[in-house]
Subunit: 403 residues, 2 copies
Amino acid sequence: MKYQHNFNPTISDENIFSEIIKEKEYIGYYNLTSQNTTAFKEYATTVKQSNIVVIGIGGSTLGTYAIYKFLKHSKNLSKKLYFLETTDPIDIKSKIEAINLKDTLFIVISKSGTTIETISIFKYINSLIKCDKNNTLVITESDSKLSEYAKINQIESFDIPKNVGGRFSVFSAVGLLPLAIVGIDIDELLNGAKEVYNSFFNKDLKYNKLLNKARFFVEYKNSFNMNVVFSYSSRLEGFNKWYIQLWGESLGKIDINSTRQGLTPIGIIGPVDQHSFLQLIIEGKRDKTVTVIKVDDFHSNLKIPNIKLDGLSELDYLNNLEFSSLINTQADATIESINNLNDIPCDVITIDGVSERSIANLMYEYELLTSICAKFMYIDAYNQPGVEAGKIILKDKLKDSIK
Amino acid sequence: MKYQHNFNPTISDENIFSEIIKEKEYIGYYNLTSQNTTAFKEYATTVKQSNIVVIGIGGSTLGTYAIYKFLKHSKNLSKKLYFLETTDPIDIKSKIEAINLKDTLFIVISKSGTTIETISIFKYINSLIKCDKNNTLVITESDSKLSEYAKINQIESFDIPKNVGGRFSVFSAVGLLPLAIVGIDIDELLNGAKEVYNSFFNKDLKYNKLLNKARFFVEYKNSFNMNVVFSYSSRLEGFNKWYIQLWGESLGKIDINSTRQGLTPIGIIGPVDQHSFLQLIIEGKRDKTVTVIKVDDFHSNLKIPNIKLDGLSELDYLNNLEFSSLINTQADATIESINNLNDIPCDVITIDGVSERSIANLMYEYELLTSICAKFMYIDAYNQPGVEAGKIILKDKLKDSIK
């Protein structure tokens, strides 16, 4: 008789690290930091249109949106970026009505090439304006049906590497090409990602930080089954959404022991959600970890003016305070009030500023953290088998309803 | 010797209902359904400006935003509504730059009258344009400092009843007045709320439905500590945010037995989040209930056109399908795939259409559900003591930094 088991052994940091090193050979996102961006930048210089509409959903848009939303008001961008991603008819109509389609480049992004939402919306666009090589660009896997469409119609097409999953694709053509077109410095993005890459793989600061954090999250996943990211800048709203997809879809899996795993991501924004979710964190059940994200330098000197309002003199102590100081002090007060409780795990990430490098630092760090957590959890971070059943049901229902 | 205890007894529906009936005597939101709206409508007719800027945060804006976001593309609204709520300097600057301040009515909303974010932003506005009775309106408690400011400056001021909490205030002046000004039918809103009020208090359909749902959520709160609202319309994004505040801040409390309570609200949007959060629901830990919200009639005949794209013929079965059918079939497929698993509690709310009555139905139902859950949990739904400590720390830090 032979007794086999795969109970989780105690895992050393070295074990996990060597698993990641192995994975780096065949999972593509890790090495996007060192890719050549010349083709993206060259294409970007040829774009004449003022509006860039990305048609895509999930991993095809969230990362791009996160970076664009973070930077758009702080950079002098030459073009506007829009996203069409839902099948909500009111949303489609209202967004399209606000855009001059004749001055628009459409970027159709779908890894599989046959995403229902994306192709349906693209067909609708085709009924409004002729889509051809002059106003359309495709980003997809090299041998997809969408790539075939592009070839037949001589439409320029960029590849999503097969080993780069949608939610890990922000530093591939999926994110870099639209961002380069609107005027974001994509080399600086990659520099930012590379800094984190180097720090981790050279076993510098990020090595301990990320391994410890992942170990804690997984070790205490049954006590703290939610991970709250509390971002103190409205500019990070897109980052929060991207994080939710990355974390939820990568870690919500059945492990090698057929056990359901998962850490639930929650994204909130400060100070707005001090007036919403914070009460639950402070007095509710101890089922959440909290990561506060701060922006060190908003590059803004916007101030509360030295104005006295009748009756409201008790707030005059705020006069002459910069809003950037106010929001960062609000973050610090929240951190202190959480830490004073002594029973809510809380860490703080401070990014340098509102720059390509800073947002890429943050996003690449979260990609690595996700991969490491998945290793601790004995799951595959890169597939999403759970949503396949729904797709088959949808197809059956639609075919039935059309018959 | 006397042995006292307050272990939770088994609670009958009748007990809870009579507690709610008692509470209705002193908690103000219940009876907002039957208030007189004449003053709001009369004020609305006097507003000449094209832009309405609400300055407020949390309960002062979320409900109004939810209704406005739901209806704005489906109604022919006469004015545009904006919200200034965060202290993020980039957000404040970019929003204000996009608005013609000379053609703007500023509505300053703060229940306490001294909300730091609100007064700070209002002061900043004062440095850009003269704010007086011609372009400013105040909504606050009758004896607040902000009310004093309004009186001294002869600025019109509407009251927030003392017994109506911020997150339950959408059907008070807080929500109704800005919405009336931009052209929303506020009487229809109240009719929608009243329908649910009647159905519950007359022990009609909503009585069993809400009591059963609340009982289930509270009974299984340790197994299912998260409640996901999965809204199949981008127009419900504001509703999700409002729900998160209502649910999180009302139920995240220490109960009468000094035990931490709380159910964590999560708001996601379909079909977009099928490509994000759904994988976690389907394969992750069984720690979530799911409520799917559908819109029966989008009042839209927007179609996928009968267009064939080279290479993409496998999706031609979608041709001629209305987008509203597609999104609702997507919702049905998600519901079926969840129900097939047999171990995720799931209910479905279908609202009639994109109308005042429908969104008010939904919001008032959630207010009642929140109150009922709080009764089952032996907590006070209407306070928020957990955020007070942070406010004191903030004030100390700010005063220190300014010295």
